[in-house]
Structure formats: C-alpha cells, structure tokens
Amino acid sequence: MSGVRVLVGTKKGAFVLTSDGKRTKWDVSGPHFAGWEIYHVKGSPVDPNRLYASQSSSWFGQTMQRSDDGGKTWNTVENKFVYDGVPGTHQWYDGTAHPWEFKRVWHLEPSLTDADTVYAGVEDAALFKSTDGGKSWNELSGLRKHGSGPRWQPGAGGMCLHTILIDPTNPDRMFIAISAAGAFRTEDGGTTWQPINQGLRSQYIPDPTAEVGHCVHRIAMHKSRPDTLFMQKHWDVMRTDNAGDSWSEISGNLPTDFGFVIDVHAHEPETVYVLPIKSDAEHFVPDGKLRVFRSRTGGNEWEALSKGLPQKDCYVNVLRDAMAVDSLDSCGIYFGTSGGQVYASANSGDSWNAIVRDLPGVLSVEVQTLT
C-alpha cells in the first residue's frame, strides 16, 4: 500500500503528517521538539525511516536530531559545526567586513545513495557533510574559499545556504544557493565550486549582472533533466538548460515575480510551480488571494490554481523550503504557510485542501512517498 509522509518544520516544533495513497485522510503527530525552531526535516531516499532534523533556538543554539524509525523516536546527533581553517570575513549589511559565524542549519540534503551521508547548508553560508549519520560534520570549504566569499553578504533572513541539489545521474555534481550570494556548482563532489549566475539581473546591487551578490531564494530540478534548473530569485523566475552556465527569465504573465518557493512536477519536467508573493516589502500573497501558479510549458505561461485555497482576506507568506511534491501517479503538491496551514493537492494542483491548518508558522515542508 503506497502512502505519503509529510515532514513539517515550524517555528515551534516539527509535525509528521501521514496518509495513504488517496491522500484524503491525514494523521498528524507532533509537536516533536516542542518550542524549538525546526528549520528543516528531510528523509533519506535510500532508507525512508532515516530522517534528519535541524532544531534550533535563540537561547540554546543549534541541535541536530536523527530518527531511524520514520519519526516515531529521535536521538540527538552531533551539533558541532566548525569552519575549516581561519574563517575570514564576508560583507555585512553596511558593506563592512564581518567575521564568518555559525548560526544555524537551514537545510539538510540526504545523499541519494547512502543513508549515512547527509549535507547541511548553514548560516553563515557554508556547506557541511556527514558520512556517519550525523555523528560528525566536516565543512566542504572549497565553496566558501572559492574566492568570492569576502564579497558575499546576508539577505534579510541572514546569509544562509538554503538549497542543495544533487544530480541523480552524477553524485559528484551538486548545485547550491545562498542568499545573497547566488548559485554555485561543483563537478567534483564539493572540492571545487564555480558561481553560476550569468544571466541573473538584480537591480538592487551595484552591478546588476555581477558574478555574485544575487539573492537566490530557491532552485528546483526534475530528476530526469539535471541540466535544467528552475530558480525563484528575490525578484524574477529563471531557468537554465545548461546546468547554470546561463539563465533566462521565465516570469511571463505572473502577477508578481517575487516569491520564495519553486518546484517541479514529479512526472512532468516542464510543469513548474511557484507561489508569488506581493513584494520584498510586503511578504504576503497579492490581492488577499492564496494562489499557486503552474506552468506546463517550462515557464512564461502561468495559470493560477486557486480551487480550495482562500481567495479573500488572506495575507500569509510561504517560505523557501515550504513546498514539496510526492511521486505518486497523480502527483501531489504540498506547501505550508506562515499562518500554520499545510495545503495539499492530490491532482497536480487542480484543487487543494488544508490537511492541517493551525500549526505554528511553517518553515519547511518535505514529502516522502512510501511504498
């Protein structure tokens, strides 16, 4: 019997939502780690019972959790993240040099081939790797030391490494994204990196076409086309078909091209989802209407999906890690809001239901398709 497990990180704990393949009735368990910020929870594609969670608090800092039974029980693992060598400085908001300081883990990306290997994207931006199930972490410092590091600067949410994509056809090739530095690619398993920001244009930086400095909010990939990436930038929705060597804008007819999330249909590599947010000053959906926009043409032509979503007096935000898709035959789409709702569509976005609606503000949503 197939089913899905939705892993929800919120400002005050984690929740695990489960359903069978019909995705009509949901069981909600949690809060796990009540009172703590859970930036991200993600399961291993190799062993679905292996989950990793990033748990943090302004008082008590960063803690890491691991479950080996699908989220029923959890154990703390190593939370020591030490930058390799002398960390140096990056740019601060005012342009001055600021020392690199570890703050929290934003994103966890388990390996596609080994349940004990997991990558962590952290603030201040760096990439760490564990090959022992989270018992120890080592920085892949070639990214931070690639040369442009001293010119990276934080976005409003901090200087975070928030996106990690692993090429399913070549585990040595990965893509990451940092706010507000941009996107980077490695071809050698993380030893060396190059910025892949050509074609991005950001009016808010001194050189709008600079090599780094772009506030990339999220990148998504379809597993069958690892050279094609879709990006929600601070403003602008973008795509590349050459693994980031060049990008072109696909915002098309979107009501606003500001937003955080972007994702790709599990079975249709040219079907893309975004959730437009009014602006960087007004972090809520435009016109009081919660709408997902879907393009079946790889961008430029977008249709609003609103059936089952509030279309009046709605002013929620949807953060960058808070959308995911399942891989059941009729692809399920999920997203969580700052208002604590988690919405799901079991028909590729045609209609939506709130599977839970009064959680703490949602920081992240991941989905596991269980067989």
Partner: protein
C-alpha cells in the same frame, strides 16, 4: 554532589525529570560544573556555551545563592554552599522575545 537546575527545554532535550546531581572534581567553578553537565549529558553540548570558545550563550544566565554569576570568570570558585551541595546552580534562559 553538585546540584544543577536546567531550563525546561533542556531538561526535555536531555530527558531529565528534575534537578540533576553531578560529581565535580577539583575546584567547583562554572567551567567545571558545565564540563560535568556536558560529560553526563552530551546532547547539551553547545546549548549552554559555545563548544569551541566556551563562551556563555547570550541568553543563558547562571545564578546561585541569590547571586548572578553570569559575568564573573568561569574559573572563579562558586559559593561554598554550592560546593557543599546545599544550594543548586540555576541555569536560566533569559526572558526575551516580547
């Protein structure tokens, strides 16, 4: 035995029901007490002080015998009543957040 009271989120994290009692060797100081806490409860490493610099986390305070010990050297001896086990060290999460 040295008595230590931890904030409730850390008691939950470490699966502790109430006050804990610890053996501390040598002079009883904030450093030696935290060393003993972290040795017995490794999941608390980094939650009270930075793992590398040993600096107290900004929103953590240490009290004992009615005194705020947060700003004294972590190597200063703690009050005799703490060393004798008649008074606990209180680890407190600062009231913050509005």
């Amino acid at each position: 035995m040295i008595r230590v009271e931890l904030p409730s989120p850390l008691r939950t994290l470490a699966n502790i029901a109430g006050e804990i009692s610890l053996d501390v060797t040598g002079t009883v100081t904030v450093r030696s007490v935290l060393d003993a806490v972290e040795a017995s409860y490794p999941m608390l490493r980094g939650t009270l002080r930075d793992q590398t610099t040993k600096q107290r986390r900004a929103f953590i305070r240490f009290f004992a015998c009615g005194e705020d010990l947060s700003h004294q050297s972590i190597d200063d001896p703690l009050p005799a009543a703490v060393a004798a086990g008649t008074e606990p060290v209180l680890v407190v999460g600062a009231i913050a957040g509005g």
